[in-house]
Amino acid sequence: MPAEVKPFLVPGPGTVTMAPWHWVVHDTSDPLPPDLPDWDPSMQLHLHRSVTTDLDRLGEETQLGREVRLGLTVSWTSSTSAMCGGVPTVPLDPSGITRLDVTLPGDHIGGTLELRTTLTLLAPTMTPSVGVARFPGSVLVEDRHRLVLEHNHDRFPVHQIDFAVTRLDPNASWHLETTTDLSAPFLGSFLLLLNQRDTELAAAVTRGRKDSRQEALLDELEHGVAALLLELATHLRTELAECDNWPAGSVGDTLARVLHQAERSGTVPPPTGPHVLADSRTRISAAVRAAGHGRQLR
């Protein structure tokens, strides 16, 4: 959220410490990785973390004192549906260490999940003063964590169809379905279609060992798709810059990251006409390779 200035006092750094998330699978607790490649909607996600609070400092820094009721709330937003949900708030433990155990419903989440943990006021303050939080739900501290359940960029959905039954030219090998709606979920709107008529490419993308020609075909495909994404991002540069914080898993979020990664070594201008087309393509091709997509120089 831009201009993150709250109309009330919040605790300083170190007063509230949120430990990293852990997930429980097969009765074993492990640190939560950034992505869960084997996730599917039938999986419930069991997560836990602890939050350590220096209650005296918190009371002083927020001028709320020690008597006010505070609690921790975990909520989630799913990129594929833009829907959100929360789990019941846990009151802050008087010992200063509060453990959060949450179970997220697999059939309600997907894409990239944004997990938000907030420390909030649970009841209105009895004697409100200027600059002191007073409304229930007022966020004193928050932490956001992104968890990728379904990959966007590197492994977005791929399907094989016969281009002859579509509006697509049957001589093409692939087509990337795209949108310029930057708020749309990436996974729901981008789809890589492979033409079944290109039997060599179809064989190359199937799982299993690949020969050198098949690897070269996949490199070419990966390079082409990555270049198209980057070119799209360069054309939408102005729109992408209009928001600092695109929703997790949205088209804006994905394309902004594509552009950011590509421009670590300089600006990638979009082709503005035939006189710059060759230069632009060279720059895009180099940026795509530098980002690790397609055939690499040896």
């Binding site: 829907m83 229930p136 739900g137 966020v139 399907h159 579509t166 509006r167 729901g188 279609l193």
Partner: protein, 254 residues
């Protein structure tokens, strides 16, 4: 187990839509040669399940005049009943229901006859899912999800009201807020007069609050109170503005 419904890629959907435009919708089908499935786990919807959706919705439409043309209020009445039926009949994970191509399959392959009866063939976004709040069937399925805790309030909202309420991502994805807010708005505007400016004003007010209040930390009673107090404040402000301009309350720019 998650049920995966067929998906019709946009490139194929575009072709199908052109076919519908040229030749009419044709008969409902349970299969398309170019349909695909999402790569996550789950079982695929059976032909019988797809056929059941076709039958149940066709019967419901018949009760509302299908195949004869029906006036707006009758088709809206169909929408309201179809919302629950569709959600009960099509079991989808929310992630799957966020996939545009699933809804294109439904409109163009399984239910082309009803899609044309409901919205005609001039607007492609009623057929090919680009915006899920505009697609003929996606919008109904998601309305059932969002208004599950207060289905009655859905019946009091117009399509325009729903668009205004659901288009704001920060609130539209939170069914507790939407239901509480919608109930409060409907209570203030039982005959719909003044509703559009009220929704516009109160959603802006609420968004400002949500910049520093976590709605998930609020119990149901407190959340309802918050929505009511913001709606009261908006209504008062609008009435004051109307009194000053000496204009009779209307539905603004509807």
């Amino acid at each position: 187990m998650t049920v995966l419904w067929p998906r019709l890629p946009a490139a194929v959907a575009g072709e199908e839509f052109e076919r519908v435009r040229s030749n009419g919708p044709g008969d409902p089908r349970v299969h398309h040669p170019a349909q695909v499935y999402t790569p996550v786990g789950g079982r695929r919807a059976t032909d019988a399940e797809i056929r059941s959706v076709i039958t149940r919705l066709t019967e419901l439409a018949s009760e509302h005049g299908y195949p004869q043309a029906a006036p707006d209020h009758v088709r809206i009445a169909f929408d309201r009943r179809a919302t629950t039926l569709l959600h009960d009949a099509i079991e989808l994970s929310w992630s799957e229901a966020g996939q545009r191509d699933t809804w294109s399959f439904l409109a163009l392959v399984a239910l082309p006859h009803l899609t044309r009866w409901r919205f005609g063939i001039n607007n492609p976004e009623r057929w090919i899912a680009t915006d899920l709040t505009r697609h003929t069937w996606a919008r109904l399925w998601w309305q059932a999800v969002v208004f599950a805790r207060d289905p009655a309030v859905l019946g009091a909202l117009t399509e325009s009201d729903l668009n205004q309420l659901l288009e704001r991502r920060t609130m539209g994805g939170d069914s507790r807020i939407i239901c509480a807010l919608a109930r409060s708005i409907v209570d203030h505007t039982p005959d719909g007069t003044g509703r559009r400016p009220l929704i516009r004003d109160v959603t802006a007010r609420l968004l400002r609050q949500l910049a520093f209040i976590d709605a998930h930390a609020l119990g149901d009673t407190v959340l309802v109170h918050l929505c009511r107090s913001e709606t009261d404040a908006s209504w008062e402000r609008l009435l004051r503005a109307l009194r000053q301009s000496d204009v009779r309350p209307t539905d603004g720019d509807d």
